[in-house]
Subunit: 300 residues, 2 copies
Amino acid sequence: MIRRLAVLGVGLIGGSVALALKRAGHVEQVVGYGRNRSNLEQALALGVLDEIADTPEQAVAGADCILLAMPVGGMTEVMHRIAPHLAADAIVTDAGSTKQDVIAAARLALGPKISRFVPGHPIAGAEKSGAAAALADLYDGRNVILTPLPENRPETVAAVASLWQACGAQILDMSAAEHDRVFAAVSHLPHLAAFALVDELAGRPEAELYFRHAGSGFRDFTRIAGSSPEMWRDIALANREALVGELDAYIARLSQLRDALSGGDGARLFDSFVRASQARREWAPAGTNHLENEDAQTAP
Amino acid sequence: MIRRLAVLGVGLIGGSVALALKRAGHVEQVVGYGRNRSNLEQALALGVLDEIADTPEQAVAGADCILLAMPVGGMTEVMHRIAPHLAADAIVTDAGSTKQDVIAAARLALGPKISRFVPGHPIAGAEKSGAAAALADLYDGRNVILTPLPENRPETVAAVASLWQACGAQILDMSAAEHDRVFAAVSHLPHLAAFALVDELAGRPEAELYFRHAGSGFRDFTRIAGSSPEMWRDIALANREALVGELDAYIARLSQLRDALSGGDGARLFDSFVRASQARREWAPAGTNHLENEDAQTAP
Protein backbone atom coordinates (compact mmCIF):
# COMPACT_ATOMS: atom_id res chain seq x y z
CA MET A 1 0.00 0.00 0.00
CA ILE A 2 1.37 3.38 -1.07
CA ARG A 3 0.55 6.42 1.02
CA ARG A 4 1.65 9.17 -1.36
CA LEU A 5 2.71 8.40 -4.95
CA ALA A 6 4.65 11.01 -6.91
CA VAL A 7 4.30 10.63 -10.68
CA LEU A 8 6.94 12.56 -12.59
CA GLY A 9 5.71 12.73 -16.18
CA VAL A 10 1.91 12.39 -16.19
CA GLY A 11 1.34 10.99 -19.66
CA LEU A 12 -0.36 7.83 -20.82
CA ILE A 13 2.13 5.65 -18.94
CA GLY A 14 2.33 7.52 -15.64
CA GLY A 15 -1.35 8.48 -15.63
CA SER A 16 -2.39 4.87 -16.20
CA VAL A 17 -0.30 3.72 -13.24
CA ALA A 18 -2.10 6.29 -11.05
CA LEU A 19 -5.52 5.15 -12.23
CA ALA A 20 -4.65 1.46 -11.92
CA LEU A 21 -3.34 1.85 -8.36
CA LYS A 22 -6.44 3.81 -7.38
CA ARG A 23 -8.63 1.12 -8.91
CA ALA A 24 -6.78 -1.48 -6.82
CA GLY A 25 -6.96 0.58 -3.64
CA HIS A 26 -3.15 0.38 -3.61
CA VAL A 27 -2.58 4.13 -3.19
CA GLU A 28 -4.03 6.85 -0.97
CA GLN A 29 -2.90 9.99 -2.74
CA VAL A 30 -1.24 10.84 -6.07
CA VAL A 31 0.76 13.98 -6.72
CA GLY A 32 2.03 14.75 -10.19
CA TYR A 33 4.65 16.90 -11.88
CA GLY A 34 5.18 17.53 -15.58
CA ARG A 35 6.34 20.16 -18.03
CA ASN A 36 2.90 20.75 -19.52
CA ARG A 37 0.66 22.60 -17.04
CA SER A 38 -2.59 22.17 -18.94
CA ASN A 39 -1.95 18.43 -19.15
CA LEU A 40 -1.53 18.38 -15.35
CA GLU A 41 -4.74 20.31 -14.86
CA GLN A 42 -6.55 17.87 -17.09
CA ALA A 43 -5.10 15.01 -15.02
CA LEU A 44 -6.40 16.69 -11.86
CA ALA A 45 -9.85 17.22 -13.35
CA LEU A 46 -10.01 13.59 -14.48
CA GLY A 47 -9.01 12.25 -11.07
CA VAL A 48 -5.71 10.87 -12.31
CA LEU A 49 -3.98 13.21 -9.84
CA ASP A 50 -5.09 14.46 -6.46
CA GLU A 51 -2.56 17.27 -6.41
CA ILE A 52 -0.24 19.13 -8.78
CA ALA A 53 3.34 19.88 -7.78
CA ASP A 54 5.13 22.90 -9.23
CA THR A 55 8.53 21.27 -9.19
CA PRO A 56 9.99 17.74 -9.06
CA GLU A 57 11.43 18.57 -5.63
CA GLN A 58 7.99 19.48 -4.30
CA ALA A 59 6.47 16.36 -5.85
CA VAL A 60 8.77 13.92 -4.07
CA ALA A 61 8.73 15.68 -0.69
CA GLY A 62 6.83 13.35 1.64
CA ALA A 63 6.20 10.72 -1.07
CA ASP A 64 6.86 7.10 -0.15
CA CYS A 65 6.85 6.01 -3.79
CA ILE A 66 8.12 7.81 -6.90
CA LEU A 67 7.46 6.81 -10.50
CA LEU A 68 9.68 8.33 -13.20
CA ALA A 69 7.53 8.22 -16.33
CA MET A 70 9.01 10.88 -18.57
CA PRO A 71 10.99 10.13 -21.75
CA VAL A 72 14.43 8.69 -21.13
CA GLY A 73 16.12 11.90 -22.30
CA GLY A 74 14.59 13.91 -19.47
CA MET A 75 15.35 11.56 -16.59
CA THR A 76 18.89 12.61 -15.70
CA GLU A 77 17.97 16.17 -14.81
CA VAL A 78 14.93 15.15 -12.78
CA MET A 79 16.88 12.50 -10.85
CA HIS A 80 19.51 15.05 -9.86
CA ARG A 81 16.83 17.45 -8.69
CA ILE A 82 14.88 14.96 -6.60
CA ALA A 83 17.83 13.11 -5.03
CA PRO A 84 18.30 15.41 -2.02
CA HIS A 85 14.55 15.44 -1.33
CA LEU A 86 13.82 11.71 -1.29
CA ALA A 87 12.42 10.42 1.98
CA ALA A 88 14.65 7.82 3.62
CA ASP A 89 12.14 5.02 3.09
CA ALA A 90 10.91 6.10 -0.37
CA ILE A 91 11.02 3.61 -3.22
CA VAL A 92 11.67 4.75 -6.78
CA THR A 93 10.91 3.04 -10.08
CA ASP A 94 10.79 4.15 -13.71
CA ALA A 95 9.09 3.25 -16.98
CA GLY A 96 11.92 3.97 -19.40
CA SER A 97 12.38 2.03 -22.62
CA THR A 98 16.09 1.52 -22.02
CA LYS A 99 17.66 0.43 -18.77
CA GLN A 100 21.47 0.57 -18.70
CA ASP A 101 21.59 4.31 -19.37
CA VAL A 102 18.84 5.06 -16.84
CA ILE A 103 20.70 3.02 -14.24
CA ALA A 104 23.98 4.81 -14.99
CA ALA A 105 22.26 8.17 -14.62
CA ALA A 106 20.57 7.03 -11.41
CA ARG A 107 23.87 5.92 -9.87
CA LEU A 108 25.34 9.35 -10.51
CA ALA A 109 22.28 11.27 -9.35
CA LEU A 110 21.14 9.20 -6.39
CA GLY A 111 24.49 8.17 -4.90
CA PRO A 112 23.93 5.85 -1.91
CA LYS A 113 20.16 6.19 -2.38
CA ILE A 114 20.52 4.02 -5.52
CA SER A 115 19.45 1.10 -3.29
CA ARG A 116 15.94 2.64 -3.30
CA PHE A 117 15.69 2.57 -7.13
CA VAL A 118 14.29 -0.52 -8.91
CA PRO A 119 14.38 0.01 -12.70
CA GLY A 120 11.36 -1.11 -14.73
CA HIS A 121 9.92 -1.16 -18.26
CA PRO A 122 6.18 -1.75 -18.72
CA ILE A 123 5.47 -3.31 -22.14
CA ALA A 124 2.20 -1.53 -22.72
CA GLY A 125 0.88 1.58 -24.36
CA ALA A 126 -1.76 2.77 -26.77
CA GLU A 127 -2.06 4.93 -29.85
CA LYS A 128 -3.01 8.02 -27.84
CA SER A 129 -0.87 10.08 -25.49
CA GLY A 130 -1.19 12.49 -22.57
CA ALA A 131 -2.96 12.19 -19.22
CA ALA A 132 -6.37 12.26 -20.92
CA ALA A 133 -5.49 8.96 -22.62
CA ALA A 134 -4.65 7.23 -19.33
CA LEU A 135 -6.49 3.96 -18.69
CA ALA A 136 -6.96 2.09 -15.42
CA ASP A 137 -6.68 -1.22 -17.31
CA LEU A 138 -3.70 -0.39 -19.52
CA TYR A 139 -1.45 -2.87 -17.71
CA ASP A 140 -3.93 -5.69 -17.24
CA GLY A 141 -2.20 -8.88 -18.35
CA ARG A 142 0.84 -6.99 -19.67
CA ASN A 143 4.47 -7.68 -18.89
CA VAL A 144 6.54 -5.34 -16.77
CA ILE A 145 10.24 -6.03 -16.89
CA LEU A 146 12.21 -5.26 -13.74
CA THR A 147 16.01 -5.12 -13.83
CA PRO A 148 16.87 -5.04 -10.11
CA LEU A 149 20.25 -3.75 -8.95
CA PRO A 150 22.74 -5.51 -6.68
CA GLU A 151 22.17 -2.66 -4.21
CA ASN A 152 18.42 -3.27 -3.97
CA ARG A 153 17.15 -4.99 -0.83
CA PRO A 154 14.69 -7.81 -1.54
CA GLU A 155 11.84 -5.97 0.17
CA THR A 156 12.41 -2.89 -2.04
CA VAL A 157 12.19 -5.04 -5.19
CA ALA A 158 9.11 -6.74 -3.75
CA ALA A 159 7.45 -3.38 -3.10
CA VAL A 160 8.01 -2.25 -6.69
CA ALA A 161 6.83 -5.61 -8.02
CA SER A 162 3.67 -5.35 -5.96
CA LEU A 163 3.07 -1.83 -7.33
CA TRP A 164 3.06 -3.16 -10.89
CA GLN A 165 1.13 -6.28 -9.92
CA ALA A 166 -1.52 -4.04 -8.36
CA CYS A 167 -1.74 -2.42 -11.81
CA GLY A 168 -2.64 -5.85 -13.21
CA ALA A 169 0.74 -6.62 -14.76
CA GLN A 170 2.95 -9.66 -14.47
CA ILE A 171 6.60 -9.22 -13.52
CA LEU A 172 9.56 -10.51 -15.54
CA ASP A 173 13.10 -10.16 -14.19
CA MET A 174 16.03 -9.59 -16.52
CA SER A 175 19.44 -8.00 -16.26
CA ALA A 176 19.60 -4.48 -17.66
CA ALA A 177 22.12 -5.58 -20.27
CA GLU A 178 19.90 -8.42 -21.45
CA HIS A 179 16.90 -6.10 -21.52
CA ASP A 180 18.67 -3.57 -23.71
CA ARG A 181 20.07 -6.26 -26.00
CA VAL A 182 16.68 -7.91 -26.52
CA PHE A 183 14.75 -4.68 -27.05
CA ALA A 184 17.41 -3.35 -29.42
CA ALA A 185 16.54 -6.31 -31.65
CA VAL A 186 12.77 -6.63 -31.31
CA SER A 187 11.76 -2.98 -30.86
CA HIS A 188 14.47 -0.39 -31.46
CA LEU A 189 15.80 -1.88 -34.72
CA PRO A 190 12.35 -2.22 -36.33
CA HIS A 191 11.64 1.43 -35.51
CA LEU A 192 14.85 2.59 -37.18
CA ALA A 193 14.22 0.28 -40.15
CA ALA A 194 10.72 1.71 -40.62
CA PHE A 195 11.96 5.30 -40.31
CA ALA A 196 14.67 4.50 -42.88
CA LEU A 197 12.27 3.14 -45.50
CA VAL A 198 9.86 6.07 -45.27
CA ASP A 199 12.68 8.64 -45.24
CA GLU A 200 14.26 6.96 -48.28
CA LEU A 201 11.03 7.19 -50.30
CA ALA A 202 10.01 10.63 -49.00
CA GLY A 203 13.30 12.08 -50.26
CA ARG A 204 12.78 10.98 -53.85
CA PRO A 205 11.62 13.41 -56.55
CA GLU A 206 8.81 10.97 -57.34
CA ALA A 207 7.85 10.39 -53.70
CA GLU A 208 4.17 11.04 -54.44
CA LEU A 209 4.13 8.26 -57.07
CA TYR A 210 5.58 5.73 -54.63
CA PHE A 211 3.30 6.65 -51.74
CA ARG A 212 0.23 6.59 -54.01
CA HIS A 213 0.78 2.92 -54.81
CA ALA A 214 1.79 1.80 -51.33
CA GLY A 215 -0.65 -0.72 -49.88
CA SER A 216 -1.25 -2.71 -46.75
CA GLY A 217 2.19 -4.34 -46.58
CA PHE A 218 3.76 -0.89 -46.55
CA ARG A 219 1.11 0.35 -44.11
CA ASP A 220 1.93 -2.22 -41.45
CA PHE A 221 5.68 -2.31 -42.05
CA THR A 222 5.89 1.46 -41.58
CA ARG A 223 3.25 2.06 -38.89
CA ILE A 224 5.91 2.65 -36.24
CA ALA A 225 7.58 5.26 -38.50
CA GLY A 226 4.79 7.58 -37.33
CA SER A 227 6.26 7.47 -33.79
CA SER A 228 7.75 10.44 -31.95
CA PRO A 229 11.12 11.50 -33.44
CA GLU A 230 12.30 12.98 -30.12
CA MET A 231 11.58 9.85 -28.16
CA TRP A 232 13.23 7.59 -30.70
CA ARG A 233 16.31 9.73 -30.99
CA ASP A 234 16.63 9.48 -27.20
CA ILE A 235 16.06 5.71 -27.15
CA ALA A 236 18.51 5.11 -30.01
CA LEU A 237 21.25 7.17 -28.36
CA ALA A 238 20.53 5.65 -24.95
CA ASN A 239 20.88 2.12 -26.34
CA ARG A 240 23.56 3.01 -28.85
CA GLU A 241 25.93 0.10 -28.44
CA ALA A 242 23.37 -2.69 -28.68
CA LEU A 243 21.48 -0.95 -31.47
CA VAL A 244 24.58 -0.41 -33.61
CA GLY A 245 25.24 -4.14 -33.25
CA GLU A 246 21.70 -4.94 -34.35
CA LEU A 247 21.94 -2.56 -37.31
CA ASP A 248 25.18 -4.26 -38.38
CA ALA A 249 23.58 -7.70 -38.16
CA TYR A 250 20.50 -6.55 -40.07
CA ILE A 251 22.52 -4.82 -42.79
CA ALA A 252 24.62 -7.99 -43.16
CA ARG A 253 21.48 -10.12 -43.44
CA LEU A 254 19.96 -7.79 -46.05
CA SER A 255 23.24 -7.81 -47.98
CA GLN A 256 23.14 -11.62 -48.05
CA LEU A 257 19.64 -11.50 -49.54
CA ARG A 258 20.75 -8.83 -51.97
CA ASP A 259 23.68 -10.95 -53.17
CA ALA A 260 21.53 -14.07 -53.45
CA LEU A 261 18.99 -12.13 -55.50
CA SER A 262 21.61 -10.48 -57.65
CA GLY A 263 23.11 -13.90 -58.37
CA GLY A 264 19.70 -15.38 -59.18
CA ASP A 265 20.06 -17.84 -56.28
CA GLY A 266 16.39 -18.65 -55.76
CA ALA A 267 17.17 -21.54 -53.42
CA ARG A 268 18.94 -19.27 -50.93
CA LEU A 269 16.10 -16.76 -51.04
CA PHE A 270 13.58 -19.55 -50.61
CA ASP A 271 15.39 -21.07 -47.62
CA SER A 272 15.54 -17.71 -45.86
CA PHE A 273 11.88 -16.94 -46.60
CA VAL A 274 10.82 -20.39 -45.36
CA ARG A 275 12.68 -19.98 -42.06
CA ALA A 276 11.22 -16.50 -41.59
CA SER A 277 7.63 -17.31 -42.51
CA GLN A 278 7.61 -20.41 -40.34
CA ALA A 279 9.00 -18.51 -37.33
CA ARG A 280 6.57 -15.64 -37.90
CA ARG A 281 3.55 -17.91 -38.18
CA GLU A 282 4.51 -19.71 -34.97
CA TRP A 283 5.07 -16.47 -33.08
CA ALA A 284 2.37 -15.00 -30.87
CA PRO A 285 2.80 -11.64 -29.16
CA ALA A 286 3.17 -11.63 -25.38
CA GLY A 287 -0.26 -10.02 -24.90
CA THR A 288 -3.12 -9.69 -27.36
CA ASN A 289 -3.76 -6.13 -28.54
CA HIS A 290 -0.89 -4.83 -26.48
CA LEU A 291 1.08 -1.95 -27.87
CA GLU A 292 4.56 -1.08 -26.72
CA ASN A 293 4.78 2.14 -24.83
CA GLU A 294 7.53 3.36 -27.15
CA ASP A 295 4.97 3.72 -29.88
CA ALA A 296 2.76 6.09 -28.00
CA GLN A 297 4.37 7.62 -24.94
CA THR A 298 5.07 11.33 -25.32
CA ALA A 299 6.60 14.00 -23.17
CA PRO A 300 4.07 14.83 -20.49
CA MET B 1 -19.92 -8.67 -71.93
CA ILE B 2 -17.87 -11.89 -71.83
CA ARG B 3 -19.36 -15.07 -73.25
CA ARG B 4 -16.93 -17.61 -71.87
CA LEU B 5 -14.24 -16.65 -69.37
CA ALA B 6 -11.32 -19.01 -68.76
CA VAL B 7 -9.70 -18.57 -65.36
CA LEU B 8 -6.28 -20.20 -65.14
CA GLY B 9 -5.45 -20.35 -61.45
CA VAL B 10 -8.67 -20.39 -59.44
CA GLY B 11 -7.49 -18.94 -56.15
CA LEU B 12 -8.61 -15.92 -54.21
CA ILE B 13 -7.68 -13.56 -57.05
CA GLY B 14 -9.06 -15.52 -60.02
CA GLY B 15 -12.08 -16.79 -58.13
CA SER B 16 -13.01 -13.29 -57.00
CA VAL B 17 -12.89 -12.04 -60.60
CA ALA B 18 -15.30 -14.82 -61.58
CA LEU B 19 -17.71 -13.96 -58.75
CA ALA B 20 -17.47 -10.21 -59.37
CA LEU B 21 -18.18 -10.58 -63.10
CA LYS B 22 -21.13 -12.85 -62.36
CA ARG B 23 -22.45 -10.34 -59.86
CA ALA B 24 -22.21 -7.62 -62.53
CA GLY B 25 -23.83 -9.77 -65.20
CA HIS B 26 -20.65 -9.25 -67.21
CA VAL B 27 -20.03 -12.94 -67.96
CA GLU B 28 -22.17 -15.86 -69.17
CA GLN B 29 -19.98 -18.80 -68.33
CA VAL B 30 -16.77 -19.39 -66.38
CA VAL B 31 -14.46 -22.34 -66.97
CA GLY B 32 -11.49 -22.87 -64.70
CA TYR B 33 -8.21 -24.74 -64.68
CA GLY B 34 -5.77 -25.22 -61.82
CA ARG B 35 -3.28 -27.68 -60.38
CA ASN B 36 -5.34 -28.54 -57.35
CA ARG B 37 -8.37 -30.65 -58.32
CA SER B 38 -10.17 -30.47 -54.99
CA ASN B 39 -9.86 -26.68 -55.04
CA LEU B 40 -11.49 -26.67 -58.50
CA GLU B 41 -14.30 -28.91 -57.31
CA GLN B 42 -14.91 -26.59 -54.39
CA ALA B 43 -15.01 -23.66 -56.84
CA LEU B 44 -17.59 -25.53 -58.90
CA ALA B 45 -19.70 -26.33 -55.84
CA LEU B 46 -19.57 -22.70 -54.71
CA GLY B 47 -20.63 -21.38 -58.12
CA VAL B 48 -17.30 -19.68 -58.73
CA LEU B 49 -16.90 -21.91 -61.78
CA ASP B 50 -19.51 -23.36 -64.13
CA GLU B 51 -17.11 -25.90 -65.57
CA ILE B 52 -13.75 -27.50 -64.80
CA ALA B 53 -11.17 -27.93 -67.55
CA ASP B 54 -8.65 -30.77 -67.33
CA THR B 55 -5.91 -28.83 -69.09
CA PRO B 56 -5.07 -25.19 -69.87
CA GLU B 57 -5.57 -25.97 -73.57
CA GLN B 58 -9.08 -27.22 -72.92
CA ALA B 59 -9.86 -24.20 -70.72
CA VAL B 60 -9.06 -21.63 -73.38
CA ALA B 61 -10.71 -23.49 -76.29
CA GLY B 62 -13.73 -21.38 -77.23
CA ALA B 63 -13.08 -18.75 -74.53
CA ASP B 64 -13.34 -15.11 -75.58
CA CYS B 65 -11.55 -13.93 -72.44
CA ILE B 66 -8.68 -15.53 -70.49
CA LEU B 67 -7.45 -14.50 -67.04
CA LEU B 68 -4.02 -15.73 -65.95
CA ALA B 69 -4.23 -15.74 -62.15
CA MET B 70 -1.57 -18.19 -61.09
CA PRO B 71 1.71 -17.17 -59.39
CA VAL B 72 4.15 -15.45 -61.70
CA GLY B 73 6.49 -18.45 -61.65
CA GLY B 74 3.91 -20.68 -63.31
CA MET B 75 2.84 -18.35 -66.11
CA THR B 76 5.45 -19.10 -68.74
CA GLU B 77 4.54 -22.75 -69.12
CA VAL B 78 0.82 -22.05 -69.24
CA MET B 79 1.23 -19.30 -71.83
CA HIS B 80 3.18 -21.65 -74.09
CA ARG B 81 0.51 -24.31 -73.76
CA ILE B 82 -2.46 -22.06 -74.45
CA ALA B 83 -0.96 -19.99 -77.28
CA PRO B 84 -1.91 -22.35 -80.14
CA HIS B 85 -5.44 -22.72 -78.80
CA LEU B 86 -6.43 -19.07 -78.35
CA ALA B 87 -9.46 -18.01 -80.38
CA ALA B 88 -8.66 -15.29 -82.88
CA ASP B 89 -10.76 -12.72 -81.03
CA ALA B 90 -9.88 -13.78 -77.49
CA ILE B 91 -8.53 -11.20 -75.04
CA VAL B 92 -6.01 -12.18 -72.38
CA THR B 93 -5.10 -10.44 -69.13
CA ASP B 94 -3.20 -11.45 -66.00
CA ALA B 95 -3.02 -10.61 -62.30
CA GLY B 96 0.71 -11.00 -61.77
CA SER B 97 2.60 -8.93 -59.18
CA THR B 98 5.41 -8.12 -61.63
CA LYS B 99 4.93 -6.99 -65.19
CA GLN B 100 8.12 -6.80 -67.25
CA ASP B 101 8.93 -10.48 -66.82
CA VAL B 102 5.36 -11.55 -67.55
CA ILE B 103 5.39 -9.44 -70.70
CA ALA B 104 8.73 -10.89 -71.83
CA ALA B 105 7.37 -14.41 -71.31
CA ALA B 106 4.15 -13.52 -73.13
CA ARG B 107 6.05 -12.18 -76.14
CA LEU B 108 7.94 -15.44 -76.46
CA ALA B 109 4.91 -17.64 -75.87
CA LEU B 110 2.21 -15.77 -77.76
CA GLY B 111 4.17 -14.46 -80.76
CA PRO B 112 1.92 -12.32 -82.95
CA LYS B 113 -0.98 -12.97 -80.60
CA ILE B 114 0.76 -10.69 -78.07
CA SER B 115 -1.56 -7.95 -79.32
CA ARG B 116 -4.40 -9.78 -77.52
CA PHE B 117 -2.60 -9.63 -74.13
CA VAL B 118 -3.16 -6.63 -71.82
CA PRO B 119 -1.05 -7.03 -68.63
CA GLY B 120 -2.65 -6.14 -65.30
CA HIS B 121 -2.05 -6.11 -61.54
CA PRO B 122 -5.03 -5.85 -59.18
CA ILE B 123 -3.98 -4.24 -55.87
CA ALA B 124 -6.28 -6.29 -53.70
CA GLY B 125 -6.26 -9.45 -51.66
CA ALA B 126 -7.16 -10.83 -48.29
CA GLU B 127 -5.63 -12.93 -45.55
CA LYS B 128 -7.17 -16.14 -46.86
CA SER B 129 -6.40 -18.04 -50.02
CA GLY B 130 -7.96 -20.57 -52.39
CA ALA B 131 -11.23 -20.56 -54.31
CA ALA B 132 -13.24 -20.88 -51.09
CA ALA B 133 -11.91 -17.47 -50.02
CA ALA B 134 -13.07 -15.76 -53.23
CA LEU B 135 -15.27 -12.70 -52.72
CA ALA B 136 -17.55 -10.95 -55.21
CA ASP B 137 -16.61 -7.58 -53.68
CA LEU B 138 -12.85 -8.08 -53.36
CA TYR B 139 -12.12 -5.46 -56.04
CA ASP B 140 -14.74 -2.86 -55.06
CA GLY B 141 -12.98 0.49 -54.95
CA ARG B 142 -9.53 -1.09 -55.44
CA ASN B 143 -6.93 -0.09 -58.00
CA VAL B 144 -6.07 -2.30 -60.95
CA ILE B 145 -2.93 -1.26 -62.77
CA LEU B 146 -2.82 -1.97 -66.50
CA THR B 147 0.45 -1.76 -68.40
CA PRO B 148 -0.75 -1.86 -72.02
CA LEU B 149 1.62 -2.87 -74.82
CA PRO B 150 2.39 -0.96 -78.02
CA GLU B 151 0.87 -3.90 -79.90
CA ASN B 152 -2.50 -3.66 -78.12
CA ARG B 153 -5.37 -2.17 -80.08
CA PRO B 154 -7.33 0.47 -78.12
CA GLU B 155 -10.48 -1.68 -78.13
CA THR B 156 -8.55 -4.61 -76.63
CA VAL B 157 -7.30 -2.44 -73.78
CA ALA B 158 -10.81 -1.05 -73.34
CA ALA B 159 -12.26 -4.57 -73.11
CA VAL B 160 -9.80 -5.53 -70.36
CA ALA B 161 -10.40 -2.25 -68.54
CA SER B 162 -14.16 -2.86 -68.64
CA LEU B 163 -13.63 -6.37 -67.24
CA TRP B 164 -11.88 -4.95 -64.17
CA GLN B 165 -14.33 -2.05 -63.90
CA ALA B 166 -17.19 -4.56 -63.92
CA CYS B 167 -15.41 -6.09 -60.91
CA GLY B 168 -15.77 -2.72 -59.16
CA ALA B 169 -12.16 -1.60 -59.58
CA GLN B 170 -10.70 1.61 -60.92
CA ILE B 171 -8.05 1.48 -63.65
CA LEU B 172 -4.61 3.10 -63.45
CA ASP B 173 -2.29 3.02 -66.47
CA MET B 174 1.47 2.77 -66.02
CA SER B 175 4.38 1.50 -68.06
CA ALA B 176 5.55 -1.95 -67.04
CA ALA B 177 8.96 -0.56 -66.10
CA GLU B 178 7.42 2.11 -63.87
CA HIS B 179 5.13 -0.47 -62.27
CA ASP B 180 8.01 -2.78 -61.42
CA ARG B 181 10.15 0.08 -60.12
CA VAL B 182 7.39 1.45 -57.87
CA PHE B 183 6.32 -1.93 -56.47
CA ALA B 184 9.93 -2.96 -55.88
CA ALA B 185 10.09 -0.02 -53.45
CA VAL B 186 6.69 -0.04 -51.76
CA SER B 187 5.92 -3.77 -51.70
CA HIS B 188 8.76 -6.11 -52.66
CA LEU B 189 11.45 -4.43 -50.55
CA PRO B 190 9.33 -4.34 -47.35
CA HIS B 191 8.63 -8.04 -47.78
CA LEU B 192 12.32 -8.90 -48.04
CA ALA B 193 13.13 -6.58 -45.14
CA ALA B 194 10.53 -8.29 -42.95
CA PHE B 195 11.73 -11.77 -43.93
CA ALA B 196 15.30 -10.66 -43.15
CA LEU B 197 14.51 -9.47 -39.63
CA VAL B 198 12.61 -12.60 -38.64
CA ASP B 199 15.20 -14.91 -40.21
CA GLU B 200 17.97 -13.02 -38.39
CA LEU B 201 16.30 -13.48 -34.99
CA ALA B 202 15.08 -17.02 -35.66
CA GLY B 203 18.65 -18.16 -36.35
CA ARG B 204 20.00 -17.03 -32.98
CA PRO B 205 20.62 -19.48 -30.14
CA GLU B 206 18.43 -17.26 -27.94
CA ALA B 207 15.66 -16.87 -30.53
CA GLU B 208 13.00 -17.80 -28.01
CA LEU B 209 14.10 -14.98 -25.66
CA TYR B 210 13.83 -12.39 -28.43
CA PHE B 211 10.47 -13.58 -29.73
CA ARG B 212 9.06 -13.74 -26.18
CA HIS B 213 9.61 -10.02 -25.71
CA ALA B 214 8.54 -8.89 -29.17
CA GLY B 215 5.49 -6.63 -29.07
CA SER B 216 3.18 -4.76 -31.39
CA GLY B 217 5.87 -2.86 -33.29
CA PHE B 218 7.49 -6.17 -34.20
CA ARG B 219 4.09 -7.69 -34.93
CA ASP B 220 3.16 -5.13 -37.56
CA PHE B 221 6.65 -4.70 -39.01
CA THR B 222 6.91 -8.45 -39.62
CA ARG B 223 3.31 -9.33 -40.53
CA ILE B 224 4.25 -9.76 -44.20
CA ALA B 225 7.06 -12.14 -43.21
CA GLY B 226 4.28 -14.72 -42.81
CA SER B 227 3.68 -14.58 -46.58
CA SER B 228 4.25 -17.45 -49.00
CA PRO B 229 7.97 -18.17 -49.51
CA GLU B 230 7.37 -19.64 -52.99
CA MET B 231 5.46 -16.62 -54.21
CA TRP B 232 8.00 -14.17 -52.84
CA ARG B 233 10.94 -16.04 -54.27
CA ASP B 234 9.23 -15.84 -57.66
CA ILE B 235 8.38 -12.16 -57.33
CA ALA B 236 11.89 -11.27 -56.13
CA LEU B 237 13.54 -13.13 -59.01
CA ALA B 238 11.03 -11.75 -61.53
CA ASN B 239 11.75 -8.18 -60.44
CA ARG B 240 15.40 -8.78 -59.69
CA GLU B 241 16.94 -5.68 -61.24
CA ALA B 242 14.64 -3.11 -59.63
CA LEU B 243 14.65 -4.94 -56.31
CA VAL B 244 18.45 -5.15 -56.10
CA GLY B 245 18.49 -1.39 -56.68
CA GLU B 246 16.01 -0.87 -53.86
CA LEU B 247 17.96 -3.14 -51.53
CA ASP B 248 21.12 -1.15 -52.27
CA ALA B 249 19.34 2.14 -51.55
CA TYR B 250 17.83 0.76 -48.33
CA ILE B 251 21.12 -0.71 -47.10
CA ALA B 252 22.82 2.63 -47.81
CA ARG B 253 20.12 4.49 -45.87
CA LEU B 254 20.40 2.10 -42.91
CA SER B 255 24.19 2.46 -42.99
CA GLN B 256 23.82 6.25 -42.76
CA LEU B 257 21.62 5.85 -39.68
CA ARG B 258 24.07 3.35 -38.25
CA ASP B 259 26.99 5.75 -38.72
CA ALA B 260 25.04 8.68 -37.27
CA LEU B 261 24.12 6.58 -34.25
CA SER B 262 27.63 5.21 -33.83
CA GLY B 263 28.96 8.78 -33.91
CA GLY B 264 26.36 9.96 -31.40
CA ASP B 265 24.95 12.37 -33.99
CA GLY B 266 21.48 12.85 -32.51
CA ALA B 267 20.67 15.75 -34.84
CA ARG B 268 21.07 13.58 -37.95
CA LEU B 269 18.94 10.83 -36.42
CA PHE B 270 16.33 13.38 -35.41
CA ASP B 271 16.17 14.98 -38.88
CA SER B 272 15.68 11.60 -40.52
CA PHE B 273 13.02 10.53 -38.00
CA VAL B 274 11.18 13.85 -38.42
CA ARG B 275 11.07 13.52 -42.22
CA ALA B 276 9.90 9.92 -41.95
CA SER B 277 7.27 10.44 -39.26
CA GLN B 278 5.83 13.47 -41.04
CA ALA B 279 5.61 11.63 -44.37
CA ARG B 280 4.11 8.57 -42.68
CA ARG B 281 1.49 10.57 -40.81
CA GLU B 282 0.46 12.36 -44.02
CA TRP B 283 0.24 9.14 -46.01
CA ALA B 284 -3.06 7.36 -46.52
CA PRO B 285 -3.29 4.02 -48.27
CA ALA B 286 -4.94 3.90 -51.69
CA GLY B 287 -7.95 2.01 -50.30
CA THR B 288 -8.99 1.55 -46.69
CA ASN B 289 -8.60 -2.01 -45.41
CA HIS B 290 -7.21 -3.16 -48.70
CA LEU B 291 -4.56 -5.82 -48.65
CA GLU B 292 -2.16 -6.40 -51.47
CA ASN B 293 -2.67 -9.63 -53.32
CA GLU B 294 0.98 -10.52 -52.80
CA ASP B 295 0.24 -11.08 -49.14
CA ALA B 296 -2.33 -13.72 -49.68
CA GLN B 297 -2.44 -15.16 -53.17
CA THR B 298 -1.35 -18.77 -53.30
CA ALA B 299 -0.91 -21.35 -55.97
CA PRO B 300 -4.36 -22.49 -57.03
